[in-house]
């Protein structure tokens, strides 16, 4: 018999309308990195929440070292040596790094905090595992990467030996991802066991020993990484063959749809302008990609373009109409659709039903209302159509409350809504963020079909693979300026990376065409 540190046997967990985990068995060996792979809504996070004590399973048992354990809450999990880095960090923003690490496990003497010992322990740990943190910094002032290191130190501080990482790489830069992988290897050498939730296949191939694949709440298989390939894993995850190369028809460039001239946008965070004097255009039948590392003015630019924020100077033209100072609704009437960066904050009203969300920008159109009264039947029919056409899955169809839907399907709903308005310009900000390969493939197809049907697409992306695969033209943004323009066929990822990091810069003059 093999030495399993944790066994989850026949776990079943149901939610209203869905079975999130259906009889799943997961066995974690001592000292291995075990990846948990699956699409959005496959039940990965639910399964880990069961292990961490956040959910009680409806059926099934958990064993540690062959002994049955009952995990009633995170404290029980912690006592069993189970620690978790959540996808959305659980840190107190206004506390220092040290305070966050010791929170809940403080050493006290006569009721007073003993921070000195804690501080030494944290520093020792951070040196041992090369997890560089500034213990006195305030959480809200440090980078996302460092916040993650704080979360990892939190687990180590509690002497956890089973470490759960819930999609740890989603928010990291390529360099930070590499460092994290090394750290994980270090833990493995120490004999710690790691459960690693992800849907990024190449990360699994580099770091994991074994991989369990979930699909729609069911366990498909557990495989050894050395005996498998990316293609095989993705097929197991999605249930069909996945095409990694985006197929595009030959380009047919038409008239200018969007023209941005000398646009400048002030920043809310600092004195400098977030967007500095940028000019470019997007024509029909092309996908222009704005690449760059997060925080280089993309958010402010898109907000200004779509009307969420006021601009400082410059001019925006859509379909030869000056939209610089137009309201959001008028812009949408002129022909702009916007897939927002933050789907929960902007894209959806989570407590509304799906059908109500699908008419978010159109409820006032004559098709859906008469004398100010909404025609529920028309809305429902329209929503059912979209759900069918774009394959949006949910527990109860059009009347599902959007909050209860999986992230991928929420994003699909937004994309259905935005594309179905048949816009001349589609602004897509990170449309595939946090999604699995199946959904990514689907969204890329939709973007390309917009392009092929003669529309203009402006894609803002942080993922270089996406930039290279989908776009017809690449603009690199660095510190609020456009520092380079490339043809994806004639440039390498490394070259673009240099521009994104600010190491190279072209003097760009706008050419008249």
């Amino acid at each position: 018999m093999e030495n399993y540190i944790i066994e989850m046997r026949n776990i079943t967990k149901k939610f209203p309308g869905v079975i999130a985990n259906d009889n799943i068995t997961l066995k974690l060996k001592q000292g291995e990195i075990h990846a948990l792979l699956g699409e959005n809504g496959a039940g990965k996070s639910t399964l880990m929440s069961v292990l961490f004590g956040l959910y009680r399973p409806d059926a099934g048992e958990i064993y540690k070292h062959g002994e049955k354990v009952d995990i009633k809450g995170p404290n029980d999990a912690n006592n069993l040596g189970i620690g978790m880095v959540h996808q959305h960090y659980k840190l107190v923003d206004i506390f220092s790094v040290l305070d966050n690490i010791i929170l809940g496990a403080e050493t006290t003497k006569y009721g007073f905090l003993q921070k000195k010992e804690a501080r030494e322990k944290v520093i020792a740990l951070s040196e041992k595992y090369k997890l560089h943190v500034d213990v006195d910094a305030i959480i809200e002032e440090i980078t996302v990467g460092m916040q993650q290191r704080v979360e990892i130190l939190k687990m180590l501080y509690r002497d956890n030996e089973i470490l759960i990482f819930d999609e740890p790489t989603a928010v990291l830069t390529p360099q930070e991802i590499e460092e994290l992988m090394e750290t994980m290897h270090g833990f493995k050498k120490e004999g710690k066991s790691i459960l690693f939730i992800t849907h990024k296949l190449n990360e699994i191939m580099t770091v994991a020993d074994r991989c369990t694949v979930l699909r729609k709440g069911k366990c498909i298989d557990t495989v050894d990484i050395k005996d498998t390939s990316i293609e095989e894993l993705s097929e197991m995850m999605v249930g069909r063959k996945v095409n990694f190369i985006v197929e595009k028809k030959p380009q047919k460039i038409g008239r200018t749809i969007l023209n941005v001239e000398k646009l400048t946008v002030a920043s809310k965070n600092h004195k400098n302008n977030a967007v500095k004097n940028i000019s470019f255009d997007v024509k029909s039948g092309e996908i222009v990609c704005l690449a760059g590392i997060e925080g280089n003015g993309q958010t402010e630019f898109v907000n200004a373009l779509t009307g969420l924020e006021k601009i400082t100077a410059g001019k925006i033209e859509l379909n030869q109409t000056d939209i610089t100072h137009m309201s959001i609704r008028k812009r949408s009437k002129v022909g702009m659709s916007h897939i927002p960066e933050d789907r929960h904050k902007f894209g959806l009203i989570l407590d509304f039903r799906l059908d109500q969300n699908l008419v978010l920008q159109r409820y006032w159109e004559p098709n859906f209302q008469k004398y100010g009264f909404i025609n529920d039947q028309a809305v429902r029919t329209y929503a059912d159509n979209l759900i069918d056409k774009y394959d949006v899955r949910s527990g109860e169809g059009a009347i599902t409350v959007v909050r209860s839907m999986s992230g991928g399907n929420q994003q699909k709903a937004i994309i259905a809504r935005e594309i179905d308005r048949n816009p001349d310009l589609l602004v897509a900000f990170q449309p595939t963020r946090g999604l699995d390969v199946g959904a990514i493939e689907y969204i890329h197809k939709q973007l390309v079909s917009q392009r092929d049907s003669g529309k203009a697409v402006l894609l803002i992306s942080l993922e270089l693979d996406e930039v290279m695969n989908v776009s017809d033209r690449i603009l690199v943004m660095y510190e609020g300026e456009i520092v380079g323009e490339f043809d994806p066929k004639k440039v390498t990822i490394q070259e673009i990376g240099l521009y994104m990091a600010g190491a190279k810069k072209d003097r760009r003059e706008k050419t008249d065409d």
Binding site: D58, G347, L348, F352, Q356, L360, Q369, G372, F373, I374
Partner: protein, 448 residues
């Protein structure tokens, strides 16, 4: 041709079928009662009822504790009577010759419940509408006061010798609405334009309203002191009743159903307004915009909804509802008005908050929670009249119900989890049952 006797048979079979579908799985559809139970709305109602029940029980416990603590001054029998009065006090018809409580149809009490519910429903709506747009209208008392003042001024100043009384009534009602709306719009504008939190501005406007109204009707230097009733029986600065000018809400026949009570057509108007508000919120584009702003103002902005306009309009409507509340209460003609800042703010305004909370901000639910609150009020009066206790016990009950209604979300979750846990266990047992039921239906169909 089907014989009539067959028709009857089919009819009864259909009824039987329908009843069966309530409890059992029929045609692969879950039992209708279970479906109803699973609906969010049902759970809200049930959890509100639980809050109410526990609150009343708590009131009863307090009665017994008081009786025991009084050391014999209050008998346990009195406590038991008080407990019964809290539950069904409205149906009390006094005491019989032996001194026992008697119960039956008490038209005075029931009529008064409806009368007192009228303003409560409207202030409840006021708070609920604002809540739906994500705003906390704690300014209902101020809006209510302004509505009161405007209503009285119009109702008493336009002589009914020239203008027909019903037109004066309508003008006074509109004046109350507009004054309340104006008082609601102020925090709305501050919120929308300057992003000042509405709770702060509402508290300010409440006390500004209190002082304006005090100064207007001051019996010494008030601008409207000619509206005060000079009769010597009134030693304080009471206003004339609106009946002085012959203006009063029509009884709409309710006085026939509930004789000897204060009830009038106001309750019908209040219920109609609640239904209108429900329709506006749930069936119109305007309501969609308001709720979108309330749920997620960023998404509303992204969708091109003018969120500032929505906030201002929502507060105006909320204020208008509070103003109408005052108008209906005082236009009844049997209520007197005396105001001084030394008093606290009007309770009818603040009571809108628990009423809205208890109804989960559902305008139709507000009708019921409003009636319930006034029911408790009347029960409190019964308690005072018939037992050694005073009416403040009912305030304790209201307070604990409000407190518990904050827990109603927890009740809701318990309700959900219980049924699901039970379902997963029952799944194995349910399956054969379904098979047992199915052949029966097939057999029935073959009979036809």
């Amino acid at each position: 041709m089907i014989k009539p006797s067959n028709k009857v048979k089919v009819f009864f079979k259909n009824i039987g079928h329908w009843f069966k579908s309530l409890i059992f799985k029929v045609d692969d559809k879950d039992p209708k009662l279970l479906v109803l139970y699973r609906k969010g709305a049902t759970k809200s109602v049930v959890s509100s009822l639980i809050s109410i029940f526990v609150g009343i029980l708590l009131g009863g416990v307090i009665l017994f504790i008081l009786a025991i603590a009084s050391g014999g001054d209050i008998s346990l029998k009195a406590a038991w009577e008080g407990f019964r009065l809290i539950f069904v006090g409205v149906f009390n018809t006094g005491r019989d010759l032996n001194g026992n409580l008697t119960f039956g149809f008490n038209s005075t009490n029931i009529g008064n419940v409806l009368f007192r519910a009228t303003p409560l429903i409207l202030t409840g709506l006021s708070v609920a509408v604002a809540f739906k747009t994500g705003l906390f209208n704690i300014g209902a008392p101020g809006q209510y006061l302004m509505g009161t003042a405007a209503t009285f001024i119009v109702a008493l100043s336009i002589p009914t010798t020239i203008v027909p009384a019903w037109i004066v009534w309508i003008l006074a009602f509109i004046a109350g609405f507009l004054a309340g709306a104006l008082w609601g719009i102020i925090p709305g504008i501050f919120k929308a334009v300057l992003n000042v939190h509405e709770v702060i501005t509402c508290i300010m406007t409440n006390w500004i309203a209190a002082n304006i109204v005090t100064s207007m009707f001051d019996n010494n230097k008030g601008v409207f002191k000619h509206l005060l009733d000079p009769s010597p029986t009134k030693n304080l600065a009471y206003l004339f009743k609106t009946t002085e000018n012959g203006v009063a809400t029509s009884k709409m026949g309710l006085d026939v159903i509930f004789p000897n009570s204060q009830v009038n057509g106001g309750i019908i108007i209040a219920i109609l307004i609640a239904i209108v508000v429900y329709i506006i919120l749930n069936k119109t584009t305007f309501g969609y915009e308001l709720k979108a702003c309330g749920s997620n103002r960023h998404a509303a902005k992204y969708a091109g909804i003018n969120e500032k306009r929505s906030i201002i309009l929502s507060m105006a409507i909320a204020g208008g509802l509070a103003g109408m509340s005052a108008a209906l209460y005082y236009l009844s003609g049997n209520t007197e008005f005396y105001w001084s800042t030394y008093q606290s703010l009007p309770a009818n305004g603040f009571n809108g908050i628990p009423i809205a909370l208890l109804a989960y901000n559902n305008p139709v639910g507000v009708i019921f929670s409003g009636i319930f609150m006034s029911y408790l009020n009347v029960a409190g009066l019964q308690l005072k009249n018939l037992t050694p206790f005073n009416e403040y016990i009912t305030d304790i009950i209201i307070a604990s119900i409000v407190y518990l209604s904050a827990f109603s979300l927890a009740f809701k979750e318990i309700l959900s989890s219980k049924i699901f846990r039970k379902k997963s266990k029952d799944l194995s047992q349910e399956q054969p049952q379904e098979i047992l039921v199915k052949p029966k239906i097939i057999a029935e169909e073959e009979e036809k």
